[in-house]
């Protein structure tokens, strides 16, 4: 019984926070500031609490399991959520439904936790649904904006569609193997055509969630319409969580089909990188731009996954950690500027350095890290992904990916050019950043600057990696 509480610790803490918020909401009126302070403290406790009493184990006859790697992954997601929460301070401080926002947000996080810990396709599906449905609700949280409702609608429809495919795949897997637990499936998969078909459906379902090309069409519209906080949550946390679960599904559950899925991933990653890159070049809306750049980043992550090795799985976790820092440094600035001035176009950022030098450098460092140039952490992340991809000896894939770094550098530098070099008659006025967003940006920058040089981080993640 004691074990139950400790093993489920991270989920339970989150549930307690959700209920606490609900109960307090029923109680007396509080100002938005008070709520935001409270929630951010609770999230910080939630994040720090994840490091205490780590206990691994299996619960509910194999439906739920947790390991050191899974605990670490949940901590990473907690950290990302905390940063996003602090960054959305300016947006939420005048919002009418702060508490509802957090209840929905934390519910999706809870769903992701269960999804990562799933040892069974049903549990996986349950967690996935818990994580997507509230997400559609909060995508609609700019209540007055039509685009926001449109984004929510698109998100729920595409999520439902992808869930449908996933479910179809799951039912076919069950039909052909007679098992829904991961071990059972791994033992029974033998590569008969119907299983491959089922696997393709599953992969397509996952592809939708991580917005790999050709399943990416919803991404840009949803990212553009949703509030920036939700956009960054979608691009970092929800993508990260799906990637965390995709790796063990591919590496252990469908290991017997490795020959098949390797080629599929090869194709998916090449197409994803190229399409994401080419579309990112043409964007002027910052959120759409980050949407396409995040598609390209997923392509690079898929290259790492094709590595099918311990280096492959650990490079994914390492990259997601770094990606959280880099993407949230960029998104944090965009989110803050959008909340205070309402300007979201890249051309608005011309001359940004003249008026807001510090924010400009934060944004630039975030973009450098996304582009993967040293000494930022993004360099190490990309390097290990591509190195893992090269481990299989597929140098065609690695060369394509490496050369695509040129295109991605181009569009990131295009923004750097706008910030530092272009003149603007109406630049964004000088802004003062409140404490919470500032702290969040500092955390991101510290992460970008130091992650690559703290040997321990990579060492620890690598030691937890699942071998193939």
């Amino acid at each position: 019984m004691n074990d139950l509480f400790i093993i489920l610790k991270q989920e339970l803490v989150l549930t307690v926070i959700i209920f606490l918020l609900l109960t307090l909401k029923i109680g007396k009126e509080r100002s938005n500031m008070a709520w935001l302070n409270l929630v951010n403290v609770l999230l910080a406790i939630n994040f720090l609490g994840g490091f205490f009493f780590p206990q691994t184990g299996v619960l509910f006859s194999g439906m739920y399991h947790t390991s050191d790697l899974i605990i670490l992954e949940k901590n990473i997601l907690n950290l990302g959520t905390l940063i996003i929460s602090m960054q959305s301070y300016n947006w939420l401080k005048d919002h009418k439904h702060v508490v509802e926002f957090y209840i929905l947000l934390l519910s999706t996080l809870l769903g992701m936790f269960f999804m990562i810990s799933a040892g069974n396709l049903l549990m996986l599906y349950l967690g996935l649904e818990l994580s997507t449905i509230p997400l559609a609700a909060i995508a609609n949280f700019d209540l007055e904006k039509r685009k926001s409702s449109e984004a929510a609608m698109k998100l729920i429809i595409s999520s439902a569609f992808s869930s449908g495919m996933l479910l179809f795949g799951i039912s076919l897997v069950y039909g052909t193997t007679g098992a829904i637990s991961f071990e059972g499936i791994a033992a029974a998969v033998n590569g008969q055509p119907l299983q491959i078909f089922a696997f393709i459906l599953l992969l397509a379902g996952f592809g939708f969630k991580i917005s790999a090309v050709p399943f990416h069409l919803w991404t840009a519209d949803v990212y553009e319409g949703a509030p920036v906080a939700v956009t960054s949550y979608l691009s970092v946390i929800s993508k990260g969580a799906i990637l965390f679960v995709l790796v063990p599904v591919l590496y252990t559950v469908f290991k017997p089909l490795a020959g098949n899925w390797y080629n599929m991933l090869f194709l998916l990653s090449v197409v994803t990188i190229i399409i994401g890159n080419l579309f990112a070049i043409r964007q002027d809306n910052f959120k759409r731009f980050l949407a396409f750049s995040s598609i390209a980043q997923v392509g690079f992550i898929l290259v790492g996954i094709t590595g099918s090795s311990q280096a492959g799985s650990s490079s994914v976790v390492y990259f997601v950690l770094i990606y959280i820092f880099s993407n949230l440094a960029a998104f944090g600035v965009v989110s803050f500027v959008s909340a205070t001035t309402g300007r979201e176009r890249i051309s608005d950022y011309r001359g940004f350095h003249k008026t807001n030098p510090v924010l400009a450098w934060v944004l630039a460092i975030g973009l450098f890290s996304l582009a993967g140039v040293p000494p930022t952490a993004g360099f190490f992340g990309k390097f290990f992904l591509l190195l893992a991809g090269a481990g299989k000896g597929n140098y065609v894939l690695v060369t394509i990916a490496a050369l695509n770094m040129i295109i991605s550098l181009y569009y990131y530098l295009r923004i750097v050019k706008a910030i530092f070099m272009d003149a603007n008659e109406q630049p964004i006025e000088p802004l003062t950043v409140p404490a919470f967003p500032k702290l969040a940006l500092y955390i991101c920058i510290a992460g970008i600057v130091f992650t690559g040089f703290v040997t321990y981080v990579h060492e620890y993640i690598q030691s937890l990696g699942t071998a193939f």
Partner: protein, 495 residues
């Protein structure tokens, strides 16, 4: 001798510059930092001589290594031999001179000096690295500072040039990456673990097919940094648009990163690949030398003249490497150092002229010798060194390359050597023509109060001229310095 100092010092300088408030503080700290680096470089040279005098014949000295990503056998591993010391000395000279000529950068001065210090950090780190991952890290570190330096402080079509340079160098890095990854996954031939360690890989027998496959990636990648034809197009635009200090840095040091990498990584680690592909290197290098020389003749802008002539002169480096004879490779290293000093001096002189006359068009300049005698003399010295007049470093380096190249008995290679030697005539034409018009010629600026070089500019020029003469008059010390390193590289080519 603690080599970490050479990396820590620029890092500290850069960090300290971040906390300065105005131009005065920023430039003082930069100058202090870069002078300390120069002193350190000389201390390193002395320590190296002392080690060698006491009979230490280890290929690399002052090594130290720390695990960086132990799971992947990636180490932060540094050490030096004579070749690296020569390059470090070059870097130290150019950095001090670069800081001195940027003495009055008013615009965002803190960021400017920070980025300069960061470039220096990348160069020192690159020349010190004995682990290819460390090396790659330091190679790529310089891309963004270059982009910002050209784009923010440059002139002309600076955004275009900055973007072109950044993207082409990134392309170079991408190719180098593929080469390194291919090498890395073939280092377990003897059943050991994968490694990025330069000296360990050098002792392995990498299969010949692997070398043949990945040598072009590595060499081409580094070659882009060295303006290998046809990937030289970033050089003229980048150099011409960059602010003076950045031009000096780009031509003086950054292009040498590529040459050093092509020698130390591509050629040293994949000798069979180098032997198999050497005809391509020679072909491209010869084209670069001749095409660069003729393209220079057509230029009217002083910076473009020097940039295109850099393409031609760096071609000698690649020619020397491609010939794969001991003397030619010694010549290639000498040429890297010599060209670095000479071209930095040239760009410094052009920057000084431009700062006063606000034009770089040869047609609009004339009779500068009467108006600014010091700067004109500097320009002439740089020009004479560039066309290889005995007594200056250019003569020594080019002569060694040609002598070494002739030792390769292949008739086609000899033809390439003859063509390369013939290009010197073209060099003389464009250098003398520009000098004749701009420096001698009828005076066109006598009515202006232009003024001669200030103390900082004089110091910068003097420093570089001392370097050029030290090699030109007494080349033996540099020659002795690089010999053991080249012998080590050539040992891979013994049958």
């Amino acid at each position: 001798m603690n080599l970490h100092l050479l990396i820590l010092l620029p890092l500290l300088t850069a960090t300290a510059i971040l906390f300065t408030r105005n131009l005065k503080q920023a430039r003082t700290i930069s100058l202090a930092g870069s002078i300390l680096q120069l002193v350190l470089a000389f201390v390193l040279l002395a320590a190296y001589w002392q080690e060698r005098a006491t009979g230490n014949t280890a290929p690399m000295l002052f090594e130290s290594s720390y695990a960086w990503f132990p799971a992947l056998h990636i180490n932060y591993h540094i050490g030096v031999d004579g070749i690296s010391i020569a390059m470090i000395l070059l870097t130290a000279f150019v950095v001090v001179a670069g800081v001195l000529v940027s003495w009055n950068v008013e615009k965002m001065s803190r960021e400017f000096f920070f980025l300069l210090a960061f470039l220096a950090l990348g160069a020192y780190g690159f020349f010190l690295s004995l682990d290819i991952f460390t090396m790659f890290f330091f190679l790529e570190i310089s891309v963004i500072p270059k982009f910002l330096l050209i784009g923010i402080w440059g002139s002309g079509k600076k955004e275009y040039s900055a973007m072109k340079l950044a993207l082409m160098l990134m392309g170079g890095s991408a190719l180098v990456f593929v080469g390194l990854a291919g090498l890395y996954f073939n280092t377990s031939v003897n059943g050991g673990s994968y490694t990025f360690d330069l000296m360990q890989i050098a002792q392995l027998n990498i299969p010949v097919e692997v070398q043949k496959l990945f040598f072009p990636f590595a060499f081409l990648g580094f070659g882009i940094f060295t303006a290998l034809f046809p990937f030289h197009t970033w050089v003229p635009d980048g150099h011409a648009s960059a602010p003076t200090a950045a031009s000096m840095f780009l031509a003086g040091i950054s292009m040498k990163l590529g040459g050093y990498g092509a020698l130390r990584v591509a050629t040293f680690l994949m000798p069979d690949g180098a032997a198999a592909w050497s005809w391509v290197i020679i072909l491209l290098a010869t084209i670069a030398i001749i095409y660069g020389a003729f393209a220079t003749m057509m230029q009217t802008d002083l910076k473009y003249i020097n940039a295109y002539s850099s393409v031609s002169h760096v071609g000698f480096v690649l020619l020397g490497i491609g010939m794969l004879t001991h003397t030619a490779i010694v010549g290639a290293v000498l040429q890297m150092v010599s060209h670095g000093l000479m071209t930095a001096l040239f760009f410094a002189a052009i920057g000084m002229i431009y700062g006063r006359t606000h034009t770089r068009e040869v047609a609009q300049l004339g009779g500068l010798l009467k108006v600014m005698p010091f700067i004109s003399t500097v320009f002439v010295i740089a020009g004479l060194s560039s066309l290889g007049l005995p007594g200056f470093s250019g003569f020594v380096a080019e002569m060694t390359v040609f002598m070494g190249s002739w030792q390769n008995p292949d008739p086609w290679y000899r033809l390439a050597t003859i063509l390369a030697i013939a290009s010197i005539v073209v060099t003389a034409v464009y250098i003398l023509r520009a000098t004749g018009k701009a420096i001698m010629g009828p005076a066109m600026h006598s009515d202006h109060q232009l003024g001669d070089a200030a103390w900082n500019e004089k110091l910068a020029a003097a420093l570089l001229i001392i370097g050029i003469l030290a090699i030109g008059i007494a080349p033996f010390w540099l020659n002795d310095l690089v010999q053991p390193g080249v012998t080590l590289i050539m040992s891979k080519f013994q049958p």
